[in-house]
């Protein structure tokens, strides 16, 4: 299955979007149903139960604008890095919890490619994704695409059911990103300048 789209973010700079979309904490907060998103060393050996327990005990660190941009850049997605996430999505009549591992294959401002796979009790997926940030007159367009192979119960429901779910998840994600970033733009602390120095 292939999905793609463009999401316009108003009153933000390419650098802000880049930093935000590189921040695992921001992504975790914005992604509907995401329980945690953390870097892991070995993508083939992830103990999701332990990570879930650890995530439940830890407080999320601050994100922009409260966070220090240096810290955000420090924890940001790295090319070649592996990340584990637990994501629960309602698809039709089922609500699979996907144990997901993503690898950042390429990360060159303003473009990023990632690949990954997720597995739930009765469904799984494999995907390649990418995004490009394009500056526009009043902000930034995020052009994104995903090619996914879906297996099991979710696959059987076909694109008929998956498309609206994908659109909903992506829509909510970017709306949340927009919301958080508009706070960045509101700051008069010179945050913008500091952010651009980390790109």
């Amino acid at each position: 299955m292939e999905f793609d789209g463009t999401f316009g973010l108003a009153d933000v700079t390419t650098e802000e979007v880049w930093l935000a979309l590189s921040d695992p904490v921001m992504i975790k907060n914005a992604l509907p149903g995401c329980q945690f998103l953390v870097e892991v060393d070995n993508p083939d050996d992830v103990d999701f139960d332990a990570l879930e327990e650890a995530a439940a005990e830890e407080e999320d660190p601050a994100t922009l604008p409260e966070a220090d941009p240096e810290e955000v850049a420090e924890r940001g997605l790295a090319q070649g890095g592996h990340y584990a996430a637990l994501v629960q999505v309602g698809v039709g009549s089922v609500k699979p919890r996907f144990e997901t591992v993503v690898t950042i294959d390429r990360r060159e401002f303003p473009e990023m490619d990632a690949s990954g796979q997720g597995s739930a009790s009765d469904s799984s997926f494999e995907m390649d994704s990418g995004m490009t940030l394009v500056e526009t007159d009043d902000g930034v367009d995020v052009e994104w695409w995903t090619e996914a192979d879906v297996f099991g119960r979710v696959a059987q429901m076909g694109q008929r059911v998956i498309n609206p779910v994908a659109n909903r998840v992506v829509g909510r994600f970017f709306k949340q990103v927009q919301k958080e970033l508009s706070d960045v733009g509101d700051e008069s602390s010179g945050l913008r300048d500091r952010i651009s120095s980390y790109i």
């Binding site: 192979d149 059987q156 429901m157």
Partner: protein, 798 residues
């Protein structure tokens, strides 16, 4: 929809009380099984509740093709209410599901009831959960963790046979399950050399999912003190299931009972021996408790044997005058991941032998390659091989008529077989027929000449009206057993019938067929009442229980009336013979002086000296006054093995209007004239035609199993796979002619599959006719039709 002519307006059913006993055979009496089915009194397998019963579910492969690295059942086993989770590793030598039809070149591959280290289709069984409650079992199934190493998948037969295709079975080189051919290749080549015209088409007969209303289900109960195992299951052939299952689970056949309660449709999908029902039986033995499994609708989509699945290249050689000179057919047939019970027979002997259609074709050659793919096993589905054959023949006839510039009706008439019996070039001999009669009746109903004029006028106004004809033939009641054996069948194809008088004069008839919606309780009672001269209401019919009924072969291939009904006739005739001797003895006359009429035996010339057969039944059980050397009792069993198949035929026609702007198809009229020989119950015949045509139109317009590149079924629910609903089906105008079969004592031919065989190509031919194109693939969804229409009007490719 559409005007109905008087003769096409349908059969009126009648109350059996209003029918004279002498007229019961052939009357359109109401079905006696319907009140229970309509009021909910029917007992389906899932209705069965037994004390202490537990529930079973099956963990199925998520992937179409993968190595299994590990199955972790610990979390499922730890759940409250879960009794056991078992995999192939936990059962001793998991049985292989056998293939019931062998071909010389057949590559027999293992088909374990639980996959061990490799899965070959999405839905392949991996593990079994037994739990106290159904929903616990389902939840536990979701908690079984399987590590897969995914392999490449292939779902189309022609792709599976390509050089670089993933290997479904390591033993089956090139994914070839068999190479098979029939006919005379050289003679056919010569016919093509002499031809004035050659036409060819690439035809796909898409994979279909059977969609019986009732999903497959089984309840098994085991008694450890006497080792008796009873399996109640959705079966079209309980004896066959018993025989196969006894081998698969290694349980003695005489201690295994298979019983089919009411079964809600099968269409072939409940013939085969699947892993699931064997696993239920195994689970019941392991736990010594009754076990129930009912497939979810998702499981039926993933695991019921699918039908059709042919990629065919067909060529026809023609003379300028419009004679068919030769016919060459090359087919790649999808067999799915494993060989299902009768899978090898369907695209070979049930297909290639029907390629002469209704036509006198002097040279035919057909080659078929069976291909393993990563879809569920493919086996018999309503029609089983014969719809595929009729589709190829009738699409080619439509194309050929156009090539030689003849009207398709007249082209058919010119090439019809006229004398019977007729020996085809593809092994079979047609018993009887009168193909012009069904053609003429249908043309009459259509008002064909007027229709063609209207079509031309409509085209001038920019409307696309088309007429499609389908002159089909089918073969029912595959027989005799000796021939079936020569062709590779691992079973006989006879049928048993036991007719038993009770001392009170009432009758029970037992038949080895196993109806699942066809109305056998009614039609068999009509047959037996007619033969014995007893009241229809005094005959009870029993089917579907191996403990009650002599060995039988079951219901499929439109065989029940022709073979099972005839077995009941034979047994009834034996009873009449015995009763006649008792009557002669008690009436003190010679047996040859006794006449039998409407149930009464009387002495010739002395009608007052008579006894009714029911009275003789009482005497036979009293046994106070019997002829010398005659045993008491009045019952008889026959194992009837017919001499030949029977060959029903007919002419179906569709009139469509196609909107080239939207690709929508409106079936304005559907006319079906069928000749199924003598009709036992015309209302039931009509119902079979209606249902069959609905399924055939479903294939033409809506249905098709679709898989993505990974072999994932993307039409896995009724929202994604269009089973036609009432609104999708036009009102049908049905009529019939009657050419009795000389093969069996009833003169019947079989009707269960006729509509499904005839309909698809009638509709496709009509759409091709409307748009004046050579080919449109099925299902003819709007986009496909739109593309064909617009390519045609552009004069481009289609």
């Amino acid at each position: 929809m559409g005007a109905e002519s008087e003769s096409g307006s349908g059969v009126q059913s009648v109350d059996p009380d209003d029918v004279d006993a002498a007229d019961i055979l052939g009357s359109a009496i109401e079905r006696r099984e319907d009140p229970a089915l309509l009021t909910g009194d029917a007992e389906y397998t899932d209705d069965i509740e037994l004390p202490g019963m537990v529930h079973m579910t099956i963990k199925r492969s998520r992937h179409a093709h993968a190595r299994i690295e590990n199955i972790d059942t610990s979390e499922a086993e730890a759940m409250d209410g879960v009794i056991e989770v078992f995999t192939a590793a936990d059962i001793e030598a998991p049985g292989n599901l056998p293939t019931g039809w062998l071909l010389d070149s057949l590559e027999q591959v293992d088909h374990p009831i639980l996959a061990e280290d490799r899965v070959r289709y999405q839905g392949d069984a991996l593990a079994v959960v037994v739990a106290e409650e159904r929903y616990i079992a389902h939840d536990a199934t979701d908690r079984i963790d399987v590590d897969y190493d995914r392999l490449g998948a292939v779902t189309e037969p022609s792709e599976a046979l390509a050089d670089d295709a993933p290997a479904v079975h390591d033993d089956a080189s090139g994914n070839v399950a068999f190479d098979w051919d029939i006919g005379d290749a050289e003679k056919t080549d010569a016919a093509f050399d002499d031809a004035d015209h050659v036409v060819d088409l690439d035809l796909e007969n898409q994979l279909l999912i059977p969609n019986a209303m009732e999903p497959r289900a089984a309840v098994a109960e085991y008694n450890p003190s006497n080792d008796e195992l009873a399996v109640h299951m959705t079966s079209q052939n309980p004896h066959l299931h018993r025989l196969l299952m006894s081998g698969v689970i290694d349980h003695p056949e005489h201690k295994l009972q298979v019983r089919a309660p009411d079964v809600g449709g099968g269409f072939g999908s409940k013939i085969h021996h699947y892993a699931d029902e064997a696993l239920v039986a195994l689970a019941a033995k392991r736990h010594e408790r009754p076990v129930k499994w009912t497939a979810t609708r998702t499981e039926t989509y993933l695991t019921d044997a699918q039908g059709r699945g042919h990629d065919t290249h067909a060529e026809m050689a023609l003379s300028d005058d419009g004679d068919i000179l030769g016919f060459r057919v090359d087919t790649a047939a999808n067999l799915g991941a494993y060989l299902s019970t009768f899978a090898p027979a369907v695209p070979t002997y049930l297909y290639g032998t029907l390629l002469s259609g209704q036509y006198d074709i002097p040279a035919i050659y057909c080659s078929v390659t069976g291909a393993f793919t990563n879809v569920p096993p493919v086996d018999a589905y309503r029609g089983a091989g014969r719809p595929e054959a009729s589709f190829v023949v009738e699409r080619m006839i439509h194309r050929a008529a156009k090539e030689v510039g003849m009207d398709p009706a007249e082209f058919r008439r010119r090439n019809f077989v006229e004398e019977f019996p007729y020996q085809t070039q593809v092994a079979v001999e047609y018993d009887s027929g009168d193909y012009e009669k069904t053609l003429d009746r249908a043309l009459d109903l259509l008002d064909y000449d007027e229709l063609r004029e209207r079509q031309e006028a409509a085209r001038a106004e920019g409307k696309y009206v088309g007429v499609g004809l389908s002159a089909y033939i089918e073969a029912c009641g595959l027989a005799p057993s000796e021939l079936a054996g020569e062709l590779g069948a691992q079973a006989g194809l006879w049928e048993s019938g036991l007719v038993r008088f009770h001392p009170s004069g009432k009758v029970t008839a037992y038949c080895g067929t196993s109806g699942h919606g066809q109305g056998h309780d009614t039609t068999y009672a009509q047959i037996v009442a007619n033969e014995l001269g007893v009241d229809y209401e005094d005959v009870e019919v029993v089917e579907g229980d191996t403990d009650e009924i002599p060995q039988g072969m079951g219901t499929y291939g439109s065989r029940s009336a022709a073979v099972g009904g005839s077995a009941l006739v034979k047994s009834s005739q034996k009873l009449v013979e015995k009763a006649k001797r008792i009557a002669a003895h008690q009436l003190e006359a010679a047996p040859e002086d006794i006449e039998f009429e409407n149930g009464d035996f009387h002495v010739a010339g002395a009608p007052d000296r008579s006894m009714h057969i029911a009275e003789i039944a009482t005497q036979a059980y009293l046994a106070h006054d019997m002829p010398d050397d005659m045993e008491p009792g009045l019952e008889a069993t026959s194992f009837y093995d017919p001499d030949n198949f029977v060959f029903p035929f007919g002419l179906h026609a569709a009139v469509v209007e196609v909107d080239p702007d939207t690709g929508e198809i409106d079936i304005e009229r559907y006319v079906a004239v069928d000749d199924v020989g003598n009709q036992i119950n015309p209302k039931i015949v009509e119902g079979q035609i209606h249902g069959g045509v609905a399924q055939g139109i479903g294939q033409a317009l809506y249905e098709g199993a679709e898989y993505d590149d990974n072999g994932q079924l993307v039409t896995g629910s009724m929202q994604d796979y269009t089973v036609p609903k009432a609104e999708h089906i036009p009102s049908m105008e049905t009529d019939s002619t009657c050419t009795p079969s000389p093969v069996n004592p009833l003169g019947v031919k079989g009707v269960g599959e006729a509509g499904t065989i005839a309909a698809p190509q009638a509709v496709v031919n009509a759409v091709c006719d409307a748009l004046d194109v050579d080919q449109i693939g099925m299902p003819m969804k709007a986009e496909r039709v739109w593309r064909a229409a617009n390519a045609a009007t552009d004069g481009g490719e289609h």
